[in-house]
C-alpha cells in the first residue's frame, strides 16, 4: 500500500534521510522508533509532501507520489497527525473536526464519522463548542486524531502522539489506535515511547541517523537487547 524506497532528504547541507526503505501493508500497524534527530519526523513530512525528497521513491497504491501535491494525499486516503497536534486553535473543536472532512469523499460521510468520533472521544462532545486552543494536551491530541479520522483515511500516520501526555492518557489513546486499526485503517506510528509503540505494532523499524538499522515484528524488536539498551534504559536489561 505504502512503499518507501531509498529515500534521501536533506535540509540544506544537513542530511536527514540517507536511503530509507520501508513499507506499510493494508490493515497493518507499523511503528518507527529512533532517538531524537534520527529523522523520523522528516520521513513523515517527506511522505506527506511537506518536505521535498532529494532522491528515492514514495509509492502509494503503486502511484509515485512525487508528482502529487501535498493537499491531494488526503483524497488518496493518507492522513497525518503532525507533531505537536497543529490544531486550528482559534476555531472550535467541532469546526476543527468538520474541517477534517474537507474533501468530497470525506464530506459525503461527515455526519456519520463525526458521530463516531464523539462516541470514541466523549470528552470532545462535551467541549465541541470550545476553542481548540483552550483544551488540555490530551484533549487536543484527541481532536487532532479525530480531525485526521474525519478524512476517512486508509492509512493514518502519527508523529509522536504521546509527546507531552500523561501515561494514563497515552494508554487510552493507544487503545483508540488499536480500535481504529480493527476498523481496517492501517497505522504508521512514529514514536519515542518505544515500549507503547512496539507493544501495539505488528511490525517495526528502527531509524538511526537517517538510516533504517533494524526491522522486524513488533514483539521481536521490543525483545531485541540492543533496542532495549538504546531506548529502554539500563533497567530494561535487568528485567
Amino acid at each position: 500500500m505504502l512503499e518507501v524506497r531509498d529515500l534521501h532528504a536533506a535540509y540544506g547541507e544537513l542530511r536527514a534521510l540517507s536511503g530509507v526503505s520501508l513499507r506499510v501493508a493494508p490493515g497493518e500497524i507499523v511503528a518507527l522508533v529512533g532517538s531524537n534527530g534520527a529523522g523520523k519526523t522528516t520521513l513523515l513530512r517527506c511522505i506527506a509532501g511537506l518536505v521535498p525528497a532529494r532522491a528515492g521513491l514514495v509509492r502509494w497504491d503503486g502511484e509515485d507520489l512525487a508528482a502529487v501535491r501535498a493537499h491531494r494525499l488526503v483524497e488518496r486516503g493518507i492522513a497525518m497527525v503532525p507533531e505537536g497536534r497543529r490544531l486550528f486553535g482559534r476555531m472550535t473543536v467541532e469546526e476543527n473536526l468538520r474541517l477534517g472532512a474537507f474533501t468530497p469523499r470525506a464530506r459525503a460521510e461527515r455526519e456519520a464519522t463525526l458521530g463516531r468520533i464523539y462516541e470514541t472521544f466523549p470528552r470532545l462532545s462535551e467541549r465541541r463548542r470550545q476553542f481548540a486552543g483552550s483544551l488540555s494536551g490530551g484533549e487536543q491530541q484527541m481532536v487532532a486524531i479525530g480531525r485526521a479520522l474525519m478524512t476517512r483515511p486508509r492509512l493514518l500516520m502519527l508523529d509522536e502522539p504521546s509527546l507531552g501526555l500523561a501515561p494514563r492518557v497515552v494508554e487510552s489513546i493507544f487503545r483508540v489506535f488499536a480500535d481504529i486499526n480493527r476498523g481496517g485503517v492501517a497505522i504508521f506510528l512514529v514514536e519515542q515511547n518505544v515500549r507503547a509503540a512496539l507493544a501495539l505494532a505488528h511490525r517495526a523499524y528502527v531509524l538511526e541517523h537517517g538510516r533504517i538499522v533494524g526491522e522486524g515484528r513488533g514483539a521481536d524488536v521490543l525483545a531485541d537487547p540492543q533496542v532495549r539498551q538504546a531506548y529502554l534504559g539500563p533497567l530494561a536489561i535487568a528485567r
Partner: protein, 290 residues
Amino acid sequence: MRALLQQLILGLLLGGLYGLAAAGLSLVFGVLKVLNVAHGELIMVGGYAAFWLFTLLGLDPFLALVLVIPLTAALGLGLYGSLFSFVVRFDEETRIKNSLLVGFGLALTLHALAVRVFTADERSVTTEYGGQTFALGGLVVPVGRLLSLGVALGLIGLTHLYLARARWGQAIRATAEDWEAALLQGIDVRRAYMAAFAIGTGLAGAAGSLVIVGYSISPAIGLEWTLKALIVVVLAGLGSLFGTFVGGLVLGIAEAASAMAFGGPYREVVGLLIFFCVLLARPQGLFGRS
C-alpha cells in the same frame, strides 16, 4: 461643543471607510502573511471604476458595487498570479519584506497608470441624495456618507459570515492559522491564498467606490489610504474583521479630534504617531499574541 461633536460625527463616518479599507489589507496579511502596500492604489482603482461607471453609464455608485467588487477581485486574482504567488514561496520573514518591495513597485506602477489614464485631477461623484443631509439633534449628517458607513459595515459583516460559515471561508481561516496543517486536511492552500487575496482586493475596490461618493479620489490617494489601512491594522491587530472596523472608527474619531485640537493640517500626524507608537509597543510584529 457642537462643532466638536459635528467633527466627531464626520470623523466617525470617514472611519467606517478606514475600517473597510483596513479589512482587506488585514485579511491578506493574516492569511498570506503578505504586506500589500499597493492596497491604497487598489482602493483608488475601485474608486475610478465607480467613477467611470457613473460617468459613462449613469450607474449609482452603491449599485455599481455589484460590478466594482467582482472587477477588482478579478484584478486581484491577476495580480496574485503574476506577482504575489512568487512572493509566497519564501518563508514568513522574507515573505513580508519581499511583499513590501513588490507592493511598492505595484503601487508605483498603478499610480503612474492612473495618472496617464485618468490625469491627476480629483474626481468625485455627486448623486441626488448624496448632497442631502438630515439633522440629528442639531447636528448635520450627510446622507451619502451615512449610507457608505452602512454599506461598509454590511460588507464586513458579509465577509465575516463567509469566513465563519462557508466551506472555503473556513479553509481560508485554517490556512491563516497553520497552512501546513491545512494542507494535511486536503485544503489547497494555493487556492485559499488566491481566494483571500481576491476578497481582500474586492473589499479595497468597494472602499474606493464608497470613497468617491462622499469624498473624492485622485491618483495620489494611494499612499494616503495605504497608510490609513496600515495604521488601523496595527491598531486593531489581526483576527477580527469587526475589530478592524472598530479600529477604523477609532482612527476617524482620533483624526477629527486632533484636527480640532491642533488644526486641520495635523490631521494626518495623529494617525502616524499612533501607528509608530503601537509598532514600538509591539516590536514582535502583528502576529504576536500577547
